[in-house]
Amino acid sequence: MSPTAAPRRAFAWLRWYVTELTGENAYDRYVEHAMRTDPGAPVLGRREFERRRTDRRYAAPSDGLGGSFKGCC
């Protein structure tokens, strides 16, 4: 076991946590999902995907009271 193994693991974990928390890996997940469900279907490019993702996340929620008002108290 090399002496740098523990810090390297900690760093890898942190990296994984940040990409998960920020949703940076949403695109990878989307591609995986698209391939799994229908390998032949066209897959969006990253730019287009991120655009749609943002628009959808901050769009008007169906019932008017979404969770996008966060971080108040």
């Binding site: 998960e20 940076e24 008017g64 008002f69 971080g71």
Partner: protein
């Protein structure tokens, strides 16, 4: 065995906090009392609620699993979701309330924060999360409509909207008070807007999706903005950034309007990332700093203001006003909006509601404990000088020192002047709103580990920036959500207004955004111009409204417990519901009808009206215009408090009707629960997997994050493989 040790640690912490008199108490006891109590509440009470009361079912698929579409809603690793949920619920609230409540000493506030979260706040968050998860992640308003009925449902939605407006106005007031006449603060907070625009363009056009990268760049720019704020404050540009409160109100209103109508990717999204990062980062930093330095608390355990009700920060006696002032951190109705709607669509397992719902609220409560600690670390004389309105302490250091010393907290004019100098502000007198006080406390604590006295002013402005940043984020997002709510509500009144719902119809968007901004902007304007000090008037209304929302959420939970045949355990939500109703309704009653003009709005109105009739100036008013402003403000506040309380009483009445019906004729009520669908996900329920859970994961070939067996591309595998 280990749990009796935890219990002993907590008990020792409490006894030292409660029994020490006269000498300074170390913050270590605060930490011990809080962590010991949280651990026991989480391990025993939360587990009891999850297993016996809610009967969370690991075999039932959650909305995330059933409706997971590979886009946004996917079953999320519980550790990641905890971070998400915490970032969603926490904000400026738990930082401000405890600071104001410190006027009654550290003890009442601390007891309420810790006991309140165990029995009320965390219970609400967890139970709402559970019931929303069982209903496809529906929002609180929708659940109220479906499970209680149209009357209670409509009252709940109106209450939610009004409360939102009040929250926005009060948070904006906190920012105004923190940035007024402070060129350093105004410059660095103002710089967050161009930084956010840059990040937005970067994410949209240059490197889409590289969120972590752009956030790091943003944070670096932000720190640079804080440093350069000092240069600006010492240069010829200082005058341009020395803004008076009224100018700041106009700037905030314009900002809120712009954020509501602009495309989200340009401003809202990058600010969201920035403030989430700063929030988590700074809170972690502060926690480490307090635990490492363990500063002494200078404030008394219980001050005289707790009993005589004459406190300068907010009027009224300990009951009910401590419980109103500290809403966030102990019980925050607002969380029920996050716990329903967003988080349920991401949770992997019903059995994780304890970790996510209860756990995140315990974290927020610890933030509140840190805030009260930071306020009590300060010299009490300086604390009161910063938090009392000018009508009480005057506007010179000499007058402030005389008044505060007469209350029994010795402070010299020199001390007041040098405290302001240490953080490079003109003056610290009457910097009400809690944010500057907290910033000073945080600066004292952080300077002790990093930088010493030379870094004091940097840490002070760092803390101001951090609070202003996420208050502004709450304002921009809140204005936008307020717009959606109002669009929806107006459109459902009459078919001819249906067009308002259309999010591409610009006249509608501009009009509705304008109305929302005007509503909170007007309240903010009133608060800024209040000769008696806006915070001490508006903050109690904010606390009352937030907890009334908590009462609505707990009432809905109680109805659901009764309707779903859990009558035996109804006390779990009925107990906090009763307490919070008694507190908020007493407070509303006193705010409206109390004969003491310092507390009751109607009495104040009558007193000043009489003054006007007799052509006589009363305390706090410089001229007759001030007198008229005070009369109008008091009338508005009285109407607001009464209207909110009435709305909530309507919800209660309707909820009671449904409960009685459910108890009398159990067959006649219909529960709108989603039917059981078997779950395929295997995932631990706690943050750390138990031995059995780990064995199960290993045999299914999954990492610690869990997932669906034999679906290699499913939810996350562990990092070590990547």
């Amino acid at each position: 065995m280990i749990w009796s040790l935890v219990a002993v640690v907590g008990a020792v912490g409490w006894s030292v906090l409660a029994l020490s008199r006269g000498e300074e108490v170390s913050a270590a006891w605060m930490v011990a009392a809080a962590l010991g109590t949280y651990a026991i509440g989480y391990r025993f009470y939360a587990k009891f609620i999850q297993n016996r009361v809610l009967r969370a079912d690991p075999t039932r698929a959650t909305p995330a699993e059933r409706m997971g579409d590979g886009h946004d809603y996917h079953p999320t690793d519980r550790r990641v979701l905890l971070g998400h949920h915490f970032a969603g619920i926490s904000g400026a609230g738990p930082l401000v309330g405890p600071v104001l409540a410190a006027q009654m000493g550290y003890l009442p506030g601390t007891i309420w924060i810790i006991v309140g979260v165990i029995f009320a706040g965390a219970v609400q968050d967890m139970v709402v999360l559970f019931f929303s998860t069982r209903r496809d992640g529906k929002s609180l308003g929708q659940i109220a409509r479906e499970e209680i009925g149209p009357v209670g449902g409509v009252a709940a939605v109106i209450a939610i909207f009004s409360i939102m407006i009040i929250i926005l106005a009060v948070l904006a007031l906190v920012v105004v008070n923190a940035l007024a006449e402070s060129p350093w603060g105004a410059f660095s907070v103002g710089m967050t807007i161009p930084i956010a625009l840059f990040m937005g363009i970067y994410l949209r056009y240059l490197r889409p999706g590289k969120i972590a990268e752009v956030t790091l760049i943003g944070v670096a720019l932000l720190l640079f903005a804080i440093v350069s704020g000092r240069w600006v404050a010492n240069s010829g540009l200082a005058d341009a950034f020395t803004l008076d409160p009224r100018t700041l109100v106009i700037a905030l209103v314009l900002y809120g309007f712009a954020a509501s109508v602009m495309p989200v990717w340009l401003l809202l999204v990058p600010r969201d990332y920035l403030s989430t990062f700063m929030k988590i980062g700074t809170i972690a930093l502060l926690a480490v700093a307090i635990v490492v330095t363990l500063p002494n608390l200078q404030m008394e355990a219980v001050t005289d203001f707790a009993t005589n009700g004459d406190g300068p920060v907010f009027a009224g006696s300990l009951f009910p006003f401590v419980f109103i002032t500290i809403a966030c951190g102990a019980l925050s109705g607002f969380h029920s909006l996050i716990s329903s709607g967003t988080t349920p669509k991401m949770i992997q397992k019903e059995t994780q509601v304890r970790t996510i719902g209860y756990g995140a609220m315990l974290m927020e409560s610890s933030v509140a404990v840190m805030a009260i600690t930071a306020a009590c670390v300060l010299d009490p004389g300086i604390y009161f000088a910063m938090n009392a309105p000018p009508a009480v302490i005057g506007d010179t250091v000499q007058a402030a020192s005389d008044t505060i010393t007469s209350w029994g907290f010795t402070v010299t004019p020199d001390q007041l002047a040098s405290a302001a100098e240490a953080v490079e502000e003109e003056s610290l007198l009457s910097r009400t709103g809690g944010a500057p006080t907290l910033a000073l406390g945080v600066a004292v604590v952080l300077a002790e580990i990093i930088g010493g006295d030379t870094m004091m002013s940097f840490w002070y402005h760092f803390a101001i920036m951090f609070e202003a940043l996420f208050i502004l984020t709450a304002i921009d997002a809140g204005t936008r959500v307020g717009r959606f709510v109002l669009q929806d509500a107006l459109a459902s009144i009459h078919p001819r207004l249906g067009k308002l719902r259309d999010n591409t119809w610009w006249p509608g968007i501009l009009l509705i955004s304008g109305i929302v901004v005007a509503l909170w902007g007007y309240l903010l304007w009133v608060g800024v111009n209040d000769p008696l000090g806006g915070i001490n008037t508006l903050y109690p209304i904010f606390g009352i409204s937030n907890q009334l929302l908590g009462a609505v959420a707990l009432a809905i939970c109680t109805v659901l417990l009764v309707k779903s045949g859990r009558l035996k355990y109804v006390w779990v939500t009925l107990l906090p519901l009763t307490w919070v109703s008694v507190v908020t309704l007493t407070a509303s009653w006193q705010k409206v009808f109390s004969g003491d003009p310092a507390v009751g709005f109607l009495a104040r109105r009558d007193q000043y009206q009489e003054g006007i009739d007799n052509d006589q100036l009363l305390a706090g008013a410089q001229n007759m215009d001030d007198m008229r402003t005070i009369v109008n403000t008091a009338t508005l506040d009285a109407v607001l408090s009464a209207a909110l309380a009435l709305l909530v009483l309507i919800v209660f009445a309707d909820a009671l009707r449904v409960c009685v019906k459910a108890v009398r004729h159990p067959g006649s009520v219909r529960l709108r629960e989603t039917p059981h669908v078997p779950s395929r996900i295997i995932a631990p329920s706690g943050l750390i997997a138990t031995k059995e859970e780990r064995a199960e994961l290993v045999s299914a070939g999954l990492g610690p994050g869990g997932g669906i067996p034999e679906q290699s591309t499913g939810p996350r595998q562990e990092v070590s493989e990547r």
